[in-house]
């Protein structure tokens, strides 16, 4: 390590209001290196990339390029400094043709053409409107556009996620060759296989901090998983947090999902949700879980497959249909569910007035009773109840759940309900969900905090690449096992076998 780093970021922090997205991140990139940036959901990878490429500005921290301090204020600025990103979502302007897109970013056309050919798209028409280009090809074009300006540092955020195998192969090939010319690549991926095949080193983020930099060598994935989870990892810890589910008789099937298909994200998902159980859903970002929940909640129409409720096939065209069937959706983003300027009471009572027959005068006495009991049950702090936006995040989340307790929904679809709230409130929500299940209600519970699975759920459904790859009984669903499963690694992967040996196996694991 005598070489001077090409890019050296230290102490980078970013706050959004009271929430720290990044606390103390650092990243040191050597010339000619392919460097993986890893971390669990919400660890701060995307935030760090956005800061490095000028899309947002950091609150503190220092960024050195070739030893010189740089202040990267805008994407154009980063581009001039030789930092070029390829973001997860395509960044071609959809309504312009490709040639115009190149002009907009001042990208030379001939090298671009070369790279496009190199990446395995032989017959590209530059006059094509970007919107009409298939999504996978758009990503390739994004990459070619970045390569064409010969950047010093290329940042690839989940580059291969939406690519078919043949294109992904080409992309990896090209990235590998980049490093030979002395340029560096920052590579974000959830796929260990790619990282093992491509990267020299990996920086691991956890809760907005850099917790380790490791050299990639066979068997290192265990170490990376450990770093991502922190001290919490203890494979032998049994599910002693609560009594086993075996004690209870199995409930009736409430919702049956068969071969559900939604858009390009959700390919083939089947599972049952029974009365009296909390079924956990575990997935990395963007594996189709959003689409799954939206389809069950009636927000979007599935493209294929069957949803059955109480044995009856249903077709929801509006969330009202799902609610009619007793299925309520609690989104993780509270701003999606709450009318922020209205009072706690109005928010909890909102579903009461939703249908036309309830538009008339409100029966205050009856409504007060329902609202009050829900508030008490969730112990919502009502000191600032005039406007929900003045409540703390935890209390806001409680309001989103209280609404459906008051409405007595039989099934709750909770999408990461504990995201960004304090520990005490989390505990209360766990307790509440368990109580509800014990009363015979059914709950589908997606969480990005894997430890919650053993605290709350009866089993864990793991989704990867839009398919169910594993269903783990709660007894063995510890964080390490779940992490491995969520990355598409087979359940029996052990520490002493390198990832490379599993290349084929884990690829196959995607299709059950």
């Amino acid at each position: 390590m005598t070489k001077q780093p090409l890019l050296d970021a230290t102490g980078v922090a970013k706050r959004y209001g009271a929430v720290a997205a990044l606390k103390n991140a650092s990243l040191s990139l050597l010339p000619g290196e392919v460097h993986a940036l890893m971390g669990a959901n919400g660890a701060g990878k995307s935030t760090l990339v956005k800061i490095l490429t000028g899309a947002i500005s950091a609150n503190s921290g220092r960024i050195l390029l070739r030893g010189e301090e740089r202040d990267i204020r805008s994407p154009a600025n980063a581009r001039r400094a030789g930092l070029v990103p390829v973001y997860q979502e395509p960044s071609l302007i959809p309504d312009l043709d490709i040639l115009s897109n190149l002009r907009l970013t001042r990208t030379p056309v001939e090298p671009f053409r070369e790279w496009v050919r190199e990446l395995g798209v032989p017959d590209l028409d530059l006059r094509e409107t970007a919107r009409d280009v298939p999504l996978a090809i758009q990503r390739v074009l994004d990459l070619a556009r970045a390569l064409a300006v010969e950047p010093d540092v290329l940042l690839l955020d989940e580059m291969t996620a939406a690519l078919p195998a043949n294109l992904a192969e080409r992309v990896l090939d090209v990235v590998r060759r980049q490093s030979k010319t002395g340029r560096s690549v920052i590579f974000i991926s959830h796929r260990f296989v790619e990282i093992a095949a491509l990267c020299d080193r990996a920086t691991v983020l956890r809760d907005g901090e850099t917790v380790g930099v490791v050299d990639i060598a066979p068997g290192v994935e265990e170490r990376i998983v450990e770093l991502m989870l922190g001290a919490k990892v203890d494979k032998r810890r049994a599910a002693q947090t609560r009594s086993g589910p075996e004690a209870r008789p199995e409930g009736r099937t409430r919702i049956a999902v068969r071969s559900l298909r939604v858009g390009a994200k959700l390919h083939d998902v089947s599972f049952d949700l029974r009365d009296g159980e909390v079924a956990g859903v575990v997935a990395l970002e963007g594996q189709g879980q959003d689409e799954l929940f939206a389809a069950l909640a009636g927000s979007i129409k599935p493209d294929g497959g069957i949803i059955e409720v109480d044995g009856q096939a249903v077709r929801f065209t509006h969330p009202a249909d799902a609610i009619e069937a007793g299925i309520a959706y609690v989104p993780g983003d509270r701003t999606e569910a709450l009318a922020m300027q209205q009072s706690v009471r109005e928010n909890i009572a909102l579903p009461f007035s939703a249908v036309f027959r309830n538009w008339g005068p409100i029966n205050r006495r009856r409504e007060d009773a329902a609202v009050q009991s829900a508030i008490e049950r969730l112990q919502i702090d009502t000191r600032a109840q005039r406007e929900v936006q003045r409540l703390s995040g935890g209390n806001q989340q409680k309001v989103t759940i209280a609404r459906w307790i008051a409405a007595d929904a039989r099934t709750l679809l909770c999408f990461d309900p504990t995201r960004g709230i304090d520990v005490g409130t989390k505990q209360e929500i766990y307790k509440l969900l368990r109580q509800l299940a014990d009363q015979g209600k059914s709950i589908l519970f997606y969480t990005s905090e894997l430890e919650e699975i053993q605290l709350v759920c009866d089993r864990a459904i793991v989704i990867f690449g839009g398919r169910v790859v594993d269903v783990l009984p709660v007894g063995i669903a510890d964080e390490a096992a779940l992490t491995r499963a969520a990355y598409g690694l087979p359940r029996d992967a052990s520490a002493d076998v390198g990832i490379l040996a599993h290349h084929a196996a884990s690829d196959r694991a995607v299709t059950p």
Binding site: A55, S74, P75, A76, R79, P85, Y87, P90, S91, L92, I93, P94, D95, L96, S100, N101, R103, L104, T105, R127, T129
Partner: protein, 324 residues
């Protein structure tokens, strides 16, 4: 060639519609001649500029409700400045009013960027303000205009090499419209600014990430709209000889023509040619209804209904493309 058709299918369709309407006009009124066409173009002028203004803003993903009020203000300003003044003075007035339109448009954009109030609210407020300002300049229709400006849109220009019978169908007003629109639009379309305007309308985040200065581009889009509106204001004064402080029906007409012209209300799509042809279609339709001896007020109803239906259709299309 096929791509040309596919990308411009809408415009081609509109052009065919326009031709059909012309044929219909000749059938209804066999005497419909070059002179009538000349007056049609003169009537179209202010609408065309209003539509050009709206088109630029809509492509940038915004909307400008103040366009008719801006035309009223620039029209009364020009009329009151030229009233009783010498012919040469107009040489100063015209660029002054154009600059005024450009600046006021930029102020619109600046207010949207700085206050972060939605464009629809900001331009609604500036609609009140510009209307008020127009009333302060002239509280009743009045003012005057230099003769040479008036003559600029009357009659035809003899072009050598073109037989008179065809030349008669190319009124000065049409040439003026074409020249003025091209002078602004073609360089804009080819510049990075033009690309940026399309980019922020198409996808603001992607534009920002591609290094487009979003705020500056938005301000420029409104400024160019202001410039077009000022042209519209002057053309109003040119055709009437006076300035009227009460805005004409140009706002809704401009939105309707933009939608009919194939520019999506969400932004990022379309060009200037479509909306301009759409304006001719709408005006010619009015002529036809009048020629059919239909009560002009019924004509207004038919026109209004067409505009509302077109706008509803446009919103429906936008909705469909978003949800898919």
């Amino acid at each position: 060639m096929t791509r040309l058709l596919r990308n411009n299918g809408w415009v081609v369709g509109l052009s065919i519609l326009l031709v059909v309407l012309f044929v219909a006009t000749r059938i209804i009124q066999p005497q419909y001649g070059a002179g009538d066409f000349g007056s049609l173009v003169r009537a179209v002028l202010p609408y065309a500029f209003a539509v050009a203004a709206q088109t630029v803003v809509v492509i940038a993903g915004g909307i400008d409700l103040s366009v008719a009020a801006m035309m009223a203000l620039t029209s009364v300003t020009a009329a009151s400045m030229m009233a009783g003044a010498s012919e040469e003075y107009a040489l100063f007035v015209v660029p002054f009013v154009l600059a005024m339109g450009f600046t006021l448009g930029a102020v619109n954009g600046l207010l949207i960027v700085v206050t972060r109030v939605p464009d629809i609210v900001v331009t609604l407020a500036t609609l009140f303000i510009l209307q008020g300002a127009a009333l302060l300049v002239l509280d009743a229709p009045g003012g005057g205009i230099a003769e040479w400006l008036k003559n600029l849109i009357v009659g035809t220009v003899p072009i050598s090499g073109i037989p008179d019978t065809i030349d008669a169908w190319i009124p000065k007003a049409l040439l003026l419209l074409g020249v003025l629109l091209c002078i602004v639009w073609i360089p804009l379309r080819r510049s990075r600014l033009g690309l940026s305007i399309y980019a922020i309308g198409s996808n603001q985040l992607a534009a920002f990430r591609s290094g487009v200065p979003v705020a500056r581009t938005k301000i420029m889009a409104y400024a160019i709209a202001g410039l077009f509106a000022a042209m519209g204001g002057i053309s109003l004064t040119m055709s009437t000889g006076i300035g009227a402080p009460i805005p004409g029906p140009y706002l809704l007409a401009s939105v309707a023509a933009v939608v009919l012209g194939g520019v999506a209300l969400g932004g990022g799509k379309g060009g200037l040619l479509g909306p301009i042809i759409a304006v001719f279609v709408l005006r010619l339709l009015r002529t036809d209804l009048t020629l059919l001896a239909i009560d002009p007020n019924v004509t207004a109803i038919v026109e209004g209904t067409i505009m509302v239906v077109v706008v509803m259709f446009g919103a429906f299309i936008t909705m469909r493309s978003r949800s898919s």
